[in-house]
């Protein structure tokens, strides 16, 4: 399978008190359209990843809202899979092109999270977990990932320092990314000494609450050269699901949905994990990046922590992870994240990632997770 990405755009990620959801979405969409060098009327359809506008800003029907603001009357569909909404929107866009129905598609992701108080945002996010059997008992998202972390430490000897190193690395990468919410460098001590949120995870183990939007223009592979000399191709896509509740799963330290989604994407692309030059993985919490590197096959199960000790996942390492700064430093506007991951990989494969450029990057991967692992979606990109 082959679909081309010919345009990318994103807003700055952060607390946008002065901008609403539609402004953020328009800004990202317009940037992607200009980057692709197409006209708005060339777009055949739009897929928009958005987790919870209904609860964050009381607004449903947001795909039509955005297409209307863009002056487009094309089919516009909102795609929801909690924090994986953006990745799922991309996958639906890819399918709509492969089906032959559309030639050029706008894929967007947007979330406006700071129009509710922190309490409210936390409670919206908890909608990604099982309301009746997890949230009912006072479990929060940090505590769900904390329970994964605790079990990972127990089974494999993963340390708090290794988790902290995820945050340190991602803040370092984010310091070179103009769209990142956090551009400050931090130390392992900063992470360990920041306020405890859900033992053993501290504040700096957690991705923040963020407003932001990202967009891609994708098209039929044969059309790509008409618009750009530098197309990036999507050569594999995979998605899988698992039970909503963490306690229902076979393992507490592996996200089976990630494993299955990755296997499918690798197979479709005809490659193995060894062929990947860099990856954007779903580090909603530091432990999540460690688990992801294992589940995606970059190391053996249980050895994700060691990758951090050895610097393997640094920008100049063997398999750079989250060169953008990840969810941790760029921020995590839930519906936008999966699309932003794709924007980063496209910039890297085009050689346009500035100071965070990975040398000679040819093949990149994105990994986007919903909830504590009930949805996972993986895409593989090649230049």
């Amino acid at each position: 399978m082959k679909v081309a990405v010919i345009g990318v755009g994103s807003t700055k990620f952060g607390e946008h008190w002065e901008k609403n959801l539609r402004q953020l979405a328009i800004e990202a969409g317009t940037k992607a359209i200009l980057d692709a060098g197409i006209r708005g009327r060339d777009i055949d359809a739009m897929y928009l990843g958005n987790m919870s506008a209904g609860r964050f800003i009381g607004q449903e029907h947001v795909a039509a809202l955005v297409s209307g603001e863009l002056g487009l009357t094309i089919p516009a569909v909102r795609v929801e899979g909690a924090c994986a909404s953006g990745g799922l929107a991309l996958r639906q866009g890819v399918f709509s092109i492969l089906s032959g129905q559309h030639d050029i598609v706008l894929v967007g992701g947007a979330e406006k999270m700071t129009d509710v108080m922190t309490d409210g945002a936390t409670s919206c996010l908890m909608g990604a977990a099982d309301q009746e059997w997890e949230a009912y008992y006072g479990v929060t998202f940090p505590s769900l990932y904390a329970m994964i972390a605790r079990r990972h430490m127990f089974e494999f000897g993963t340390t708090r320092e290794q988790m902290a190193k995820v945050a340190v690395k991602n803040h370092h990468n984010g310091s070179m990314n103009p769209i990142a919410q956090f551009t400050n460098e931090i130390t392992v001590e900063d992470v360990l000494n920041s306020p405890m949120v859900a033992d053993p995870l501290t504040l700096y183990d957690c991705s923040p609450i963020t407003d932001g939007a990202a967009a891609l223009i994708i098209c039929k592979a044969e059309l790509a050269k008409k618009y750009t000399d530098n197309p990036v191709y999507i050569i594999g896509t995979g998605q899988a699901s698992d039970t909503l509740a963490l306690h229902d799963r076979k393992s507490l330290t592996t996200l089976d949905a990630s494993v299955k989604a990755a296997q499918k994407a690798y197979k479709e692309a005809g490659i193995t994990p060894k062929d990947i030059d860099l990856a954007e993985v779903h580090d909603c919490f530091t432990i999540a990046e460690i688990v992801a590197t294992e589940d995606l096959g970059f190391c053996k199960k249980g050895e994700g922590g060691k990758l951090l000790d050895e610097g393997v996942t640094n920008i100049d390492g063997k398999i750079p992870i989250n060169t953008s700064g990840g969810l941790k430093a760029v921020g995590h506007p839930v519906g936008a994240t999966g699309v932003k991951q794709a924007v980063e990989i496209v910039l890297q494969l085009r050689g346009q990632a500035g100071k965070r450029q990975v040398k000679d990057a040819k093949i990149g991967l994105t990994h986007n997770v919903g909830g504590s692992g009930a949805t996972a979606v993986v895409h593989i990109f090649s230049r």
Partner: protein
Amino acid sequence: MGHESSVPLFWRLIKPRYQLIGTKCKTCGNVFYPPKYLCPVCRKEGVLEDIKFKKTGKILTFSIVRSAPTGFDKETPYAVAIIELDDGPKLTSQIVDWKEDDLKIGRRVEACFRRIYTDGEEGIINYGLKFRPV
């Protein structure tokens, strides 16, 4: 959890939540808690019946919530855990009446009936099972 939701939202789950009643599939013999409405193993060949589980089990993993959602703020900090019942199923709940060295993987616990949270000022007081060290 929304505030001041209507009664059926809570009422319909009283039996499983208060009495640790889940389901057992007569076809494959698997047991489920929280209860399933379709056997995920046998699907159309499955036949589910209610089963009451013994209230003992052990901690598989845990955390202490320091930043709580609305309705739980007065309890902060509180311990949450995934518990494996001796009868097999795994579930999520709170650990109560604990001292520091009780919070460890493998610690034996038993279910006890407690208040969980109040749904807003005029809302329903929700009850259910928490677990305490034995």
